[in-house]
Symmetry: C3
Subunit: 159 residues, 3 copies
């Protein structure tokens, strides 16, 4: 019996284009029969936020962060050529024209392919994000769990 | 017979300094007798653009992207302290003073050392870049080819 | 006798949040009994700068870089939501509230745990940084030493 290869990605970035790269690699690796984990930390947590406004009890600073950060990938900006929010629309139009899969569907596909989506509990705490605000079907863990996955990983990336 | 070690770098970034880091590591690894691949995706594709304006047929959005993105590494900005384009000149002056190898020559050196330079066909399509606009001597591939290289890689980086 | 696992991080970024991520992963890996190296290059070198102004002989451009770059992690900005320098204060307030360890202490902890902190000599030269300006207890090396560590690494990240 041979063990499965492993791909483990830390998604730190909250940029639409970088999240796209992460999910394209993750889906490719899953199709290649790798065991795949995306560990969402810092701004990358925003990729896991539900689009609707979830009412939760928060302190003032946590509320402020919550308001300022994008709710879900569709609200994210680009790392380059963002043009005050016009860039993401441009990219999405081009993607539609070329029949590329948009990011929300890439996330659905990853869930279907059993990519393990993990939210970093330490940075959730820092940014004041609560489980009710994040997608269902995800896991919650800290840096120790990340390392346990990554230390046997074939492809480890920080995006 | 021992197998060669492998270094596989995803160059996602279109920043001069990050591309420099990628090519310095790649050239170092090649000198160390690693099999080295740089997989250029998204803004990293601009590192492979020819400097001259190549006339190709494009749709409107693709033309716009083509105009807005830098043609080749010498036109790229810095990830920090770009100062509206003054930063790259500053860095290049300092590099000249310290006899550091400028980025275009680092790319030439990589080609000489048989570093495999790959352009990601999916994002070329998205950004409307065509083979005629990119350097000769490079390869074209998708995420599956990247993973095939990376899954046996000793050093895998996302830059 | 089993060999220790290895984690090798290139810290390229000069952002407070990215340096935090690097040091959290490094400390986690050291606690897991990995042999850990953080190789500081380009803007990541600023994480190793002493806070006080060290008087050293420099050329004009090197002086300018020295003035413009942050002296130590406490002066660094955020990669997102920096808000003209207000973001880092916000993050530090939230961290205090949640009893998270601030970055300067994360660096102290890394030194205590014998994480090897390396400054890239080539980029020190480029940015005009001298050994007297950087923390004591660190090592100095180039890309060859990085590769020697990374090629046997279990977890290799570029941050």
């Amino acid at each position: 019996m041979t063990e499965k290869k492993k791909t483990t990605i830390v998604l730190f970035s909250g940029d639409y284009d970088k999240a796209m790269a992460a999910y394209i690699i993750a889906n490719g690796a899953a199709a290649y029969d790798h065991e795949v984990t995306i560990f969402h930390t810092f701004w990358g947590l925003n990729a896991l936020r539900k689009e609707e406004n979830i009412s939760v009890n928060k302190g003032f600073m946590e509320k402020m962060f919550g308001k300022l950060m994008p709710r879900g990938v569709d609200k994210m900006g680009l790392s380059k050529m963002n043009f005050a929010g016009f860039g993401p629309k441009l990219i999405k139009d081009v993607m539609k024209k070329h029949n590329a899969i948009p990011l929300p569907q890439l996330i659905d596909l990853a869930i279907e392919q059993e990519v393990k989506l993990v939210a970093c509990t330490m940075t959730m705490d820092l940014l004041g994000l609560q489980q009710a605000e994040l997608l269902d079907n995800i896991e919650y863990a800290g840096v120790a769990a990340y390392l346990a996955d990554a230390e046997d990983g074939n492809v480890n990336l920080f995006i």
